[in-house]
Symmetry: C2
Subunit: 383 residues, 2 copies
């Protein structure tokens, strides 16, 4: 018997039963008053989560679609774009800009590191011609959190727009869209927002609208002006994923009932416990504590042991899925997600199974030491 | 008490409980073997439904996204496009081509009419420079079915590609992708495929691939070459709507278990009964029987009575939603969908409530006559 499954990858994440129930309601027409009310409610709740009064559009596509929406509406061929890259998803954002013909200045800070603000300051000072700057809030491939507040403080002094990929961090790590001055924020349903993949969310500032409205790149499904045209009636330009909207309303209710400060504190606690456990087991973490993500933890596999061998044992014998490494980190790291519908016992499961799997692949481990380290964090015995 | 709702619009349509249950399963990782198996299964089943051996991609966006995928991968600025328009969605397809800079030759056959093959033949003979031809299988705004076999026979003799919007007809009206020679077929989840909105499907012929691979328009999320690159591993380029994939697998099982011939015959029967009932009530139909859609029926509101007044009574007093008219038909027609998870009793509900609503808004109607006409169709008493 091995029916219980524990999905611990950085999206899709487990969906709470309440949200599944909401999504299972009978369909409603997307041009009905009922849908308009639902849409209005969701945007109102998203404004609280994203701390913004900007327009918010819920798009029927996964996260990459929202990144392309950001680019297609602000970038024309030949435009200068500054891409701040800390991993796979930073590279993807830059590649979308290239697909739209931008001249992309790619600054790679190295996988496992965060964006160095001094470099950003120098770049912006040396060249005043950037039309947009691309940044990643939470780099899913490395478990690194970037200082969006710091980046925004620099970019907002220039004419450039700041486009932020918040796909895997929003809902796990506090983000202040308006206070920090983020022009376009993108996120998606299947991470800390506790839904299946299929919806994404984008916010658009006043500064961004001035560029968006005049942009010349081809856009239809991803057109923000088309979405804006029917926004005041709480309509959508094209058919929305109605069931997912019903689920999003329920998921946002759960988050707001818990209180966003509590949601962020919970994620921080889970991350702290996971990191403490990994260290107690003698494992090396990919990122420094300073810039470690609260949404997921990336861990180096012990020397001589393939990360995917550990993952295979976890999956086959314990029903647990950790994510592997992407790109240049393939086979070298594993990533434990603790975002969204995730709590202390999930960390107990992850760490206790990891201890057994490590022992099974030949790594010398004292069983229970990782669990103990995590427990001490939960019991408040660690600063 | 009025909790029962009857959604009779041409998408989203009601989702069968079996499909809801499938979508409610715990999430699985989209880079897992389990997902690859699911993906392979779905494509195998779609090949049967769409009668094709072409590549089939399931995209995470609603139908308009698949239309844009067709255009973004085949059309460059300045390309000549022939758009065969029979209503709102034909116009939309043409507008997407314009957004990508095409020179679009729009032939409007009039709302309520189907495409005249003679005109297509003349157009193709007069100008050999069309790169693509756009056609709509089932025009949702008017309830008209176009002769895709006939159009394809003409286009396949030329170098042009035939792109077909099959969003609202696939699964309701037989379509032979390969036998007819349709280069790119687009459809979506929320119509006769019995799912919520959020997935679309696109098929690509060998002839189309030669154009797609060399196309220069910006594309990333909608890139067919990116999708193709990971297709042999049953992977997707970007995060797929996993729960919807689970639902699609179940919905396709239902359709194939019923047998596609039976599915099409059921739709034809429901359409025939609906049309017979409307005529028996003295109502005029928008389209001739010859080109009437089996997926939905568009009916003129009686003179002097607003279609939306009838719809309001239906919704408020009987929990029934018919669709209204779009564009130039707004307020003048109502549309009754009978596609997907729809059977004889749905028509009984629709027609009996329509009779009451007509009486309530002041139209002289003999109660029961519409129902009787539909019953006679179901009992085989009408040729």
């Amino acid at each position: 018997m091995q029916d219980k499954k524990y999905l611990m990858i950085p999206g899709p994440t487990p969906v709470p039963p309440t949200v599944v129930a909401a999504m299972s309601q009978p369909l409603i027409g997307h041009r009905s008053d009922d849908f308009a009310k639902l849409h209005e409610q969701i945007v109102g709740k998203l404004k609280k989560v994203l701390q913004t009064n900007n327009d918010i559009f819920v798009l029927t596509n996964s996260g990459t679609g929202s990144l392309e929406t950001a680019i297609a509406n602000t970038v024309n061929p030949g435009d200068k774009v500054l891409a701040l890259i800390t991993g796979n998803f930073g590279e993807r954002f830059a590649n979308i800009a290239k697909a739209y013909g931008a001249k992309v200045d790619e600054v790679d800070f190295g996988w496992g590191n965060d964006v160095d603000l001094k470099v950003v300051e120098e770049k912006l000072a040396a060249d005043s011609g950037y039309k947009v700057v691309l940044a990643t809030q939470n780099e899913t491939s490395t478990g690194v959190k970037n200082d969006i507040a710091g980046i925004a403080a620099l970019v907002s002094k220039t004419p450039a727009l700041l486009l932020v990929d918040g796909v895997s961090g929003i809902g796990a790590i506090e983000h202040k869209t308006d206070e920090w001055g983020v022009d376009i924020l993108c996120t998606a349903s299947q991470k800390a927002l506790m839904l299946p993949p299929g919806l994404s969310v984008i916010t658009v500032s006043e500064k961004a609208w001035r560029v968006v409205n005049d942009n010349q790149s081809p856009r239809f499904y991803f057109s923000l002006p088309a979405a804006k045209k029917v926004y005041d009636k709480w309509n959508t330009a094209y058919t929305p994923g109605v069931s997912m909207f019903l689920g999003m309303d329920a998921a946002l209710d759960m988050m707001l009932a818990e209180g966003m400060d509590n949601v962020y504190a919970r994620h921080a606690l889970l991350a702290k416990a996971t990191r403490a456990a990994a260290k107690a087991l003698g494992l090396k973490l990919l990122s420094e504590d300073r810039c470690a993500s609260n949404a997921l933890t990336a861990v180096w596999s012990p020397e001589g042991i393939g990360a995917d061998d550990i993952r295979k044992v976890l999956k086959k014998q314990y029903g647990i899925t950790f994510a592997g490494g992407q790109g240049k980190l393939k086979g070298k790291i594993f990533r434990i997600a603790h975002m969204g519908f995730s709590d202390k016992m999930d960390i107990m499961i992850a760490i206790s199974a990891l201890e057994m799997a490590l022992a099974q692949v030949g790594y010398s481990v004292e069983l229970g030491t990782g669990v103990k380290a995590a427990q001490e964090v939960f019991l408040g015995k660690v600063e």
